[in-house]
Amino acid sequence: MSEESPSRHRRAIDWSIAGIAALAVTAAAIVYWRDGRERFLDILGDDTLLLAEMLPKVAAGCLIAAFVTTLLPRETVARWIGHESGLAGLLIGAAFGVILPGGPFTIYPVAGALIVMGADAGAVVAFITSWTLLGYTRALVWELPFFGPHFVIWRIVEALPLPIVAGLLARVVIKAGLFGKSR
């Protein structure tokens, strides 16, 4: 994230995580008071195990994201999903979304650059939708430890057509003139 402006810098703690922390402390207090010390320690132990299981995956995910961002030139991506790219453009956009790891600070600049370079808005919508719903690092690093393989695979299979649906809808909306052709 070398080119981030300071205002976009990811802070370790912000209001949303502070809110979750407050919620967690309250919930922990309720469990301790209502269900007793033993139950409290049980849950703490389970969660610590889950945490230990997640950390190496999260570290790998962060490294993958950082390497891909440094290695993959934006121009390469743009060449594939320009205007008039048709259904293939949507499919390629969706495929890129699956492959490209990283957080919002890597995906949105890439998507923004694609649009500036003349990529089709439908393909970019398919790209972002697919990255959010099907991205493999996200699924492996975050979702899997929380939800388990069965649930994650099931959710992903269902989400498979959604990037294409979103891309097609975007094209329909643009054709209808609701968002203007360009600019």
Partner: protein, 164 residues
């Protein structure tokens, strides 16, 4: 399963590191430095999110969650879940921990899928903080608008396909 995932992820890391090293030492150093600094910044969030999810799931009684988001809550439950997803702030840890807590405390799978899909696609805070500054606003609103029905589609497919 978790061992296989670790092998896969770290295998990808090694391959990328080798590619980076072949292109130059600086690229390798940059990648490692940025990746690790992101990891360190995420650490407190992960700790809070994971530990918190477990306690929240246990603290909230099933009798509270089930009528609103349980398997029997149907379309209303999906709608509530979708709205909750759009309103949930924060990065990856927050939404997944809440979804996992809801599932553990008795929410239905289609409702949780609607929640996490809505949160992933159009959490309002993320749209405003990340997407609007980094992309043309026109495209951001276009994407958000066409994404509105997607959590419902995902939940509908989930209901038709049966429980996981």
């Amino acid at each position: 399963m978790t061992v296989a995932v670790n092998f896969l992820l770290w295998g990808v890391v090694v391959v990328l590191a080798v590619v980076a090293a072949m292109r130059g030492r600086v690229l390798l150093d940059d990648g490692v430095r940025e990746g690790l600094s992101d990891f360190v910044k995420l650490l407190p969030r992960i700790v809070i999110g994971v530990i918190g999810a477990g306690f929240v799931a246990k603290a909230v009684p099933q009798s509270v969650v089930a009528p609103w988001l349980g398997p029997e809550s149907g379309l209303l439950g999906v709608t509530i879940a979708t709205a909750a997803g759009a309103l949930t702030p924060g990065g990856p840890v927050v939404g997944f921990s809440i979804g996992a807590a809801a599932l553990k405390s008795g929410a239905g799978a289609p409702q949780v899928i609607a929640y996490s899909t809505a949160w992933a696609l159009y959490a309002i805070q993320r749209l405003l903080i990340w997407e609007v500054p980094l992309m043309p606003a026109r495209v951001v609103w276009l994407r958000a608008a066409v994404s509105l029905p997607l959590p419902f589609i995902a939940a509908a497919v989930a209901m038709l396909a049966g429980q996981p």
